[in-house]
């Protein structure tokens, strides 16, 4: 019974298969670019969700890790010629140290205080990055030189980036799925519901919070490197971006916090439309786009507090009655 996969897991596998084969059929650079961005944002949102949805710690400062990852690998590449494949490891290590030193004390604060602290952390990093011109070139930003080659994580065509980001997304989704169906996942969800009640059941809340934080932060930092290598340009305002942090929250809440595919769905709904509008060029249209997302977020909170996927799942279960529950998962986390 625990071995069987749920319907949504099968759907995800089918979707992954389609996506893996897609570049054989679709050649449009624009389409591939859009999908790459969807994969990036979906991975970012899914990584955020490990801490935010699963563990219930709502960080609005995840861009801190994104930026540290991006700047570390890029600086090592530009200044010392170190390959980003190695550079991202350094970035990830730095993110881990940062998360331990700064975010971890903050996460001992409950709820909104942690959220506020995380915002302040990102804002400090952004301003420091702007100010410390000798290191980061400040607001001018850093340009990644175009040196194509597998060893530099730079390619001419879109396809390699497509597969890289898709594989990462599949990896993050699989990791989330694995966590949910393990002791770690159960403990995180229990802590999210009631930390003290979890503690008397043997859950070391500090250890598991730290675990969720490190996993989430490290993944985000790694994605910072990928972003830098794809966009060829980073600057404080785009990587240490409060807006990006908030967008990750938006994606996950709309899609569904307490689910594996929720953040992916959120990204799939939001990102393509946004990119399309950005291509059309109007600032005002982009404003309309995000205005709608803001309104959707409000409506989701009022009507569907669990987000789209868990709500749909519950409707589906109610339609099918207990037959579905006893046949498949018997109440065990999917």
């Amino acid at each position: 019974m625990s071995r069987r996969l749920s319907p949504s897991a099968w759907a995800a596998l089918a979707g992954a298969a389609v996506l893996l084969l897609l570049p054989l059929v679709v050649r449009s650079k624009f389409a591939l670019h859009n999908l790459i961005l969807v994969f990036l944002y979906a991975s970012l949102a899914a990584s955020w969700n490990i801490l935010g949805g699963l563990a219930g710690q709502h960080s609005m400062g995840h861009a801190a890790y994104f930026g540290i990852g991006a700047y570390t690998s890029t600086l090592l590449f530009i200044r010392l010629g170190i390959s980003p494949w190695i550079g991202f490891l350094a970035g990830v290590a730095l993110v881990a140290v940062f998360a331990l030193a700064v975010s971890y004390p903050a996460i001992r604060l409950r709820g909104p205080f942690f959220t506020l602290a995380s915002i302040a952390i990102v804002e400090v990093l952004r301003r420091v990055a702007i100010h410390w011109r000798s290191l980061t070139e400040g607001s001018v930003g850093l340009t990644v030189p175009f040196k194509p080659g597998w060893q530099w994580m730079i390619w001419r065509g879109k396809e390699p980036y497509y597969y890289l980001t898709l594989l990462i997304l599949i990896g993050v989704v699989a990791l989330t799925y694995g966590i949910r169906r393990s002791r770690v996942g159960y403990y995180l969800r229990a802590m999210r519901a009631d930390e003290d009640a979890a503690a008397v059941l043997g859950v070391s809340t500090t250890r598991y919070k730290l675990m969720a934080l490190l996993i989430s932060a490290v993944l985000t930092g790694m994605l910072g490197t990928i972003y830098a290598q794809y966009m060829y340009f980073i600057e404080p305002d785009s990587v240490f971006s409060l807006d990006l942090s908030i967008e990750l929250v938006l994606l996950s809440v709309i899609g569904g916090l307490d689910s594996v595919m929720g953040p992916v769905l959120g990204a799939a709904l939001v990102v393509p439309l946004n990119e399309f509008l950005r291509g059309v060029g109007s600032q005002q249209l982009q404003g309309l786009n995000f205005f709608i997302y803001g309104v959707v977020l409000i409506i989701v909170v009022i009507l569907m507090p669990n987000g789209i996927i868990p709500t749909v799942r519950r409707w589906w279960e109610r339609l099918n009655g207990s037959r579905l529950a006893t046949a498949h998962t018997k109440g065990v986390a999917r």
Binding site: G56, H58, M60, V102, P105, A106, L109, R110, G111, P112, F113, T115, L116, A117, I119, A120, I121, E123, V124, R127, V128, I130, H131, L242, I246, V249, L250, V253, Q283, Q284, Q286, G287, L288, N289, F290, F291, Y293, G294, V295, V296, L297, I298, V300, V301, I302, P305
Partner: protein, 301 residues
């Protein structure tokens, strides 16, 4: 001579900081009161300030109204906006967990920022008045007149508000509600109506702040993010729900910002008080005056 100049610079920085801090206090008082009474952390508070600033600018653009006159229209309008936000968004989710309430206000913040972007584009707007650049010289210090006016109005309004809370029946009801919601409800206090009033008043105060700021600042769609964040820093420093705390906290942050800008680096002036903010959160989350009241409902224990 050099020592005099150094002291002069210091005094100038402190005074400038206090003047701006007064406005920070006014913005923060609204935020902390909404928290104290309605027990919600309103992430869109900065955006409410932005609306007020745009509104003042529009009144100036269309009707030629001076901001100090327009405030008489802006404040009541913002009161109504606050009421609308409370009834439309906050009320339906009063029973939700604290984190979801925050997401709703985050959604509101996103919506409002982008609404401004749609309507007014990203351009920076301000109102140039005859006194925008006026400066008074007092004791060797140059003090910007509109900032001085803003400071006095802010402090006077804050003081008036404190009196309202202390002396009037409604004010006492609000304080009772902030102290113990269940007891207040049992004593017949109309909780929902007071929530609406609190939100309206808090937003009205922010409306005044917006009108006071537009002669000396620019408004643009994301101006709310910066001021909103600063308001949170002030509120946490002063203590969530504490109005004296918001007053004192605003002045402190204003001075810290000003001194950081002069003695450390202009690009880092906000970074310094954000760092201070983080330190306060880690070391004394209840702030200077906070008693930890109501923190359970907002998700703290």
């Amino acid at each position: 001579m050099r020592r005099d100049k150094a002291i002069g610079t210091l005094m100038q920085a402190i005074v400038s900081g206090l003047l701006l801090g007064g406005v920070y206090s006014l913005i923060a008082i609204g935020l902390t009161m909404v928290f104290g009474v309605v027990r919600i952390i309103n992430f869109a508070h900065g955006e409410l300030l932005m609306i007020a600033m745009y509104l003042t600018w529009l009144l100036n653009l269309w009707l030629g109204l001076d901001p100090y006159v327009a405030v008489l229209i802006v404040a009541p309008v913002m009161f109504v906006v606050g009421v609308a936000v409370q009834r439309g968004i906050v009320q339906p989710i009063l029973g939700s967990p604290a984190s979801m309430k925050i997401f709703a206000t985050v959604g509101l913040s996103i919506a409002l920022q982008n609404l401004a972007l749609m309507l007014f584009k990203g351009d920076f707007r301000t109102v140039q008045t005859s006194y925008s650049t006026a400066v008074m010289r007092i004791g060797g210090l140059s003090i910007s007149t509109p900032r001085l006016v803003a400071f006095f109005v802010a402090v006077a309004l804050a003081g008036g508000f404190f009196l309202f809370l202390k002396r009037t029946l409604v004010g006492k009801a609000l304080r009772a509600l902030a102290e113990d919601r269940d007891a207040a409800a049992l004593m017949g206090i109309p909780v929902r109506r007071l929530y609406v009033l609190a939100f309206g008043l808090g937003t009205g105060l922010v409306g005044v702040a917006g009108a006071l700021l537009i002669p000396v600042f620019y408004t643009f769609p994301t101006v709310g993010q910066l001021f909103g964040l600063t308001a949170f820093v002030v509120v946490v420093l002063g203590g969530l729900g504490s109005m004296p705390g918001a007053m004192v906290g605003g002045l402190i942050i204003g001075v810290v910002e000003s001194l950081s800008g002069v003695y450390i680096a202009p690009a880092l002036k906000e970074a310094v008080y954000f760092l201070l903010f983080i330190v306060v959160l880690l070391v004394r989350p209840q702030g200077l005056f906070g008693l930890g009241r109501g923190t359970e409902e907002v998700g703290l224990k």
